[in-house]
């Protein structure tokens, strides 16, 4: 289909405001009489609070002090299970758990006051790993430390082992990862006796915040208003946490009677807020004599931290993606999210899929090596094709271009020549080279019946200024929501991009289009914008104000004529499920997602065996995401995701001590800089998705899934050492390369004797 606006790289809607410093982020906003809030947090991992004492030397009468006793409604951060308290009441279950809140007119008076609140505890035993949690020596949550279990099964796994030419096992693990949006979390709350409660904040999901505040305050829903400020990056890190922060600011605002701002500094943000779930995946795979996957038994476990929060849904996505883009006649995934005494882990771009796909794609290389096939050939023999079923028994009706992308990736990188060349080079050089593949898919939208439950609502209205504006709760935090939704509306109505603007995201005026997560904005919300636009056009035609064949000027004139006659012109549309989508939540079977994006990534690396550092020399990212709505923004999504994936694989290590992150500074939690990023070559294949706007599918999370396995597969090829955990830091490579696995030294004496005998 020929398009005029969609597929064109128009200027980002809010671009000029961001580039000139005029965009207003939460810390740029100020209200008259506003004071500042801070949080007193648990210093231990688990235990009972015995006493809270207010130390000397602080003018405590100047402070507003809030504890759990001040909560008018329920003491929960309402989300899925409502198990997480807003403020600890009697017991704490993780370090940094909020216990008490302080507010003061002088922002600089808070740090010493927080330090002067002395909380004494009776500590209880705490657990800090999946292994400790599954041992159940200490039960810290529910009856068995398990937030959620899934068993996903297709075919008959148990009978498949007997037909196997090979059975290959492996265990893989991934670490926590900090979202590291450059703008820390922050909110402002204002409570008025007649105006209700108003929140401004840096957030992805204003209606999540709204729901949490209704539970917390007991106020009627219409008395609570949540407004998104310009949001300086999120990546999932501002999906659920802002509800907690908004709750805290609201309690302080209600008690003090003044507007309260809470902005976390970087150290507090890194220590206290959510991160990507650490994971452990065990694979056992049956392979036929001709290199076909016969069956998989996959055990997928995640560390959810101390409260359930989003762990069940993260686990779900990780489970469904655990089989990757391959055809499995038989597959069983047993998945569990475990409780530990760390701050709750949460949403982060990819949402469980980067974890299970890292394991799978490392395991695919491990199998290929074991059975003597090249990594590309083993994948080629097992890729899904149109008409085949996924691990959830979903038939893929659309063409799948994985084969073509794999071949193109091999060509673009000169893969086969390089494999040979590197093998020769590595024999003599201290700089070992390798090239690795990651093949994967990512489902767009909420899982299974999720979109039906959300039932997103989207609006479009004619403005007094002569254009139209889009009404959604879908937020902009860098991905391009504002721009692409305006493109879709303009395209649909034959208007110019500049004719369309975005209404502010404000729960008092925005229809609930659901949370801005799960790569759902372009595909799901974009489609509803298109539907609402068509409906508006029909309304004008039905009113006799618009000829069906009319152009832009007549359309805009008709909008104004309609407004004059009827007061306002609005059009609202709900989500409509694509036909033949069925999902069985019990069996974890059926159409898990309306559509998948598909990708093949390749990384070329050098491992310097003098410094043990890894350099990425080239990165090729091919993906099929349906119609590309905005080439520049789409390219930016891929490059940004790849950079986060590079950090996930090679740099970003959360160092834990008794459940607390102790490297909670940008100085010693290392994300990629401008000097660390390789050339990233991005290619899009476009297979239009029938039920997406102009054929678009989801894109945002996809690029997070593939880089880590591609990079580590390359490192394994370069070094010959099977690295199965990320992050993989130079010290890990050093240890592995200098270890003597065949002959573990039993004591210093034996080691020295062995050394001396050489």
């Amino acid at each position: 289909m020929q398009t005029r606006v969609v597929g064109v790289s128009v200027p980002r809607k809010e671009g000029p405001a961001k580039l000139t410093g005029q965009a207003r982020y939460i810390d740029d906003l100020s209200l008259p009489g506003m004071i500042f809030g801070a949080t007193v947090r648990s210093t231990i991992a688990r235990g009972a609070i015995e006493q809270i004492r207010f130390g000397e030397g602080i003018a405590w009468h100047e402070f507003t002090i809030v504890t759990a006793k001040d909560i008018p409604g329920r003491n929960v951060v309402s989300l899925i299970m409502d198990d997480q308290p807003c403020l600890a009441d009697g017991t704490v279950n993780h370090p940094e758990e909020p216990i008490l809140l302080l507010a003061h007119p002088d922002r600089h008076a808070l740090a010493s006051a927080v330090a002067a609140v002395n909380v004494t505890y009776t500590p209880a035993p705490s657990i800090h790993s999946i292994e400790e949690s599954e041992r159940r020596e200490h039960i810290i949550w529910g009856k068995d430390n398990i937030f959620k279990s899934y068993r996903m099964e297709k075919g008959d796994v148990d009978q498949a082992w007997k037909d196997a030419a090979w059975i290959v096992e492996g265990e893989y693990s991934t670490g926590a990862q900090e979202q590291l949006y450059i703008e820390p979390n922050g909110v402002i709350a204002q409570a008025g006796s007649t105006t209700g409660l108003t929140i401004w904040g840096s957030m992805q999901c204003p209606f999540y915040v709204h729901k949490a505040l209704v539970a917390l305050t007991g106020l009627p829903a219409e008395s609570i208003r949540v407004i998104q400020a310009e949001t300086g990056g999120a990546f999932g890190g501002k999906e659920e946490y802002p509800s907690m922060l908004a709750a805290h600011a609201s309690l302080l605002a209600m008690k003090s009677g003044r507007p309260v701002k809470i902005i976390y500094d970087r150290m507090e943000d890194m220590a206290a807020t959510t991160k990507r779930h650490p994971s452990r995946t065990r694979h056992r795979t049956a392979i036929s004599a001709d290199g076909k996957l016969l069956a998989a038994e996959i055990d997928f476990a995640t560390d959810g931290g101390a409260y359930a929060t989003l762990s069940s849904t993260v686990l779900s996505r990780g489970t469904i993606h655990a089989g990757g883009p391959y055809y499995w006649p038989n597959i069983r995934v047993n998945a569990k999210a475990y409780a530990t005494n760390t701050p709750p882990h949460g949403a982060f771009r990819g949402f469980g899929a980067p974890q299970s796909l890292f394991a799978l794609e490392r395991h695919m290389d491990h199998i290929a090596k074991t059975i003597g096939l090249a990594p590309d050939e083993f994948r080629r023999r097992n890729l899904l094709h149109q008409g085949m079923t996924t691990a959830t028994n979903q038939v893929i009706h659309e063409p799948i271009v994985m084969d073509q992308m794999l071949e193109r990736a091999l060509e673009l990188t000169g893969y086969h020549a390089k494999v040979k060349q590197f093998a020769a080079h590595n024999q003599t050089s201290t700089k070992k080279k390798g090239i690795g593949i990651g093949a994967f898919l990512h489902g767009a939208g909420f899982t299974g019946s999720g979109e039906r439950y959300l039932n997103a609502l989207v609006g479009l209205e004619a403005t007094a200024a002569g254009g139209l504006r889009v009404l959604v709760s879908s937020t902009e935090f860098g991905q391009g929501t504002n721009t692409i939704l305006c493109q879709i509306a303009a395209e649909t109505l034959g208007l110019e991009y500049d004719d369309i603007s975005m209404a502010p995201v404000d729960t008092s005026i925005s229809p609930n289009s659901g949370p801005t997560v799960a790569s759902r904005t372009a595909m799901i919300i974009g489609k509803i914008v298109q539907t609402a636009a068509l409906k508006m056009r029909q309304t004008l035609i039905d009113s006799g104000l618009l000829e069906p064949s009319a152009g832009r000027e007549q359309f805009l004139a008709a909008c104004q004529a309609y407004r004059k006659q009827f007061g306002e012109l609005q059009s609202f549309s709900h989500y409509e499920a694509a036909p033949n989508i069925f999902w069985n939540d019990e069996l974890y079977s059926g159409e898990a997602y309306g559509a998948y994006a598909w990708a093949v990534y390749m990384a070329e690396v050098t491992v310097d065996t003098t410094t043990y550092s890894v350099t990425i020399d080239d990165f090729v990212a091919l993906q099929e995401i349906g119609k590309v709505i905005h080439p520049v923004l789409a390219g930016g999504q891929i490059e940004g995701g790849v950079a986060q994936g590079i950090g996930y694989a090679l740099y970003e290590k959360v160092v834990w001590k008794d459940g607390r992150m102790i490297n909670n500074q940008m100085t010693n939690y290392i994300m990629p800089t401008a000097e660390d990023i390789p050339p990233i070559r991005v290619y899009f294949e476009e297979v239009p998705y029938q039920y997406g706007p102009y054929g678009a599918k989801g894109i945002g999370e996809l690029p997070m899934d593939g880089p880590a396995p591609a990079i580590i597969n390359a490192v394994v090829q370069a070094t010959g050492i099977e690295f199965n955990s990320i992050p993989l830091l130079p010290e890990d490579i050093f240890r592995a390369m200098t270890a003597e696995p065949e002959r573990p030294a039993e004591s210093l004496e034996t080691a020295l004797a062995a050394e001396g005998s050489q």
Partner: protein, 156 residues
């Protein structure tokens, strides 16, 4: 500690502000002078979001005690654009997709302006080095490099 008066020339205009001498230049710009375009990302000089030009040099304003800026000429993100037109660096970032969430953008733009002032035709390696002190979590830097090359008149 008592307050003192400090004079700063910010974007061509002289401001005299009553401050504690050790207050951060970042806070003075944002709260006393009302220029909130300069952002705080880490408060320890790692992320570069608070970058401004002080007497033509690129500084992390979170690490500069305001007394040190007495009499200095400062340029912030608000000082670049004309009345109705973006600065060429801002224009290039807009065109190339160099800004996503926008929070690192003011610092990134200031670092680019500084780089191009000293080296109008930087190589890719020089661009990487010039922006090495400014972290961006959204873009993967690639389109920022494109924007710098574009602003330097060497579109990639």
């Amino acid at each position: 500690m008592s307050k003192c008066d400090v004079s700063l020339i910010v974007n061509g205009k002289t401001h005299t502000v009553s401050v504690y001498p050790m207050e951060r230049l970042l806070d003075v710009l944002r709260t006393k002078i009302g220029l909130t375009g300069t952002k705080e990302g880490c408060g320890e000089g790692e992320c570069g979001s608070c970058s401004v030009l002080m007497n033509g040099e690129l500084v992390n304003s979170c690490l500069v005690p305001v007394l040190q800026a007495e009499g200095a000429t400062l340029c912030t993100i608000e000082g670049l654009a004309g009345e109705n037109s973006l600065h060429p660096v801002q224009q290039a970032f807009l065109k190339c997709g160099g800004a996503q969430c926008g929070i690192c953008t003011p610092g990134m733009v200031m670092a680019t302006v500084h780089l191009l002032n000293h080296n109008p035709k930087p190589t890719l390696a020089q661009i990487r080095e010039g922006l090495g002190g400014n972290l961006c979590r959204c873009t993967g830097y690639t389109r920022i490099f494109d924007a710098v090359a574009e602003a330097a008149g060497n579109p990639r």
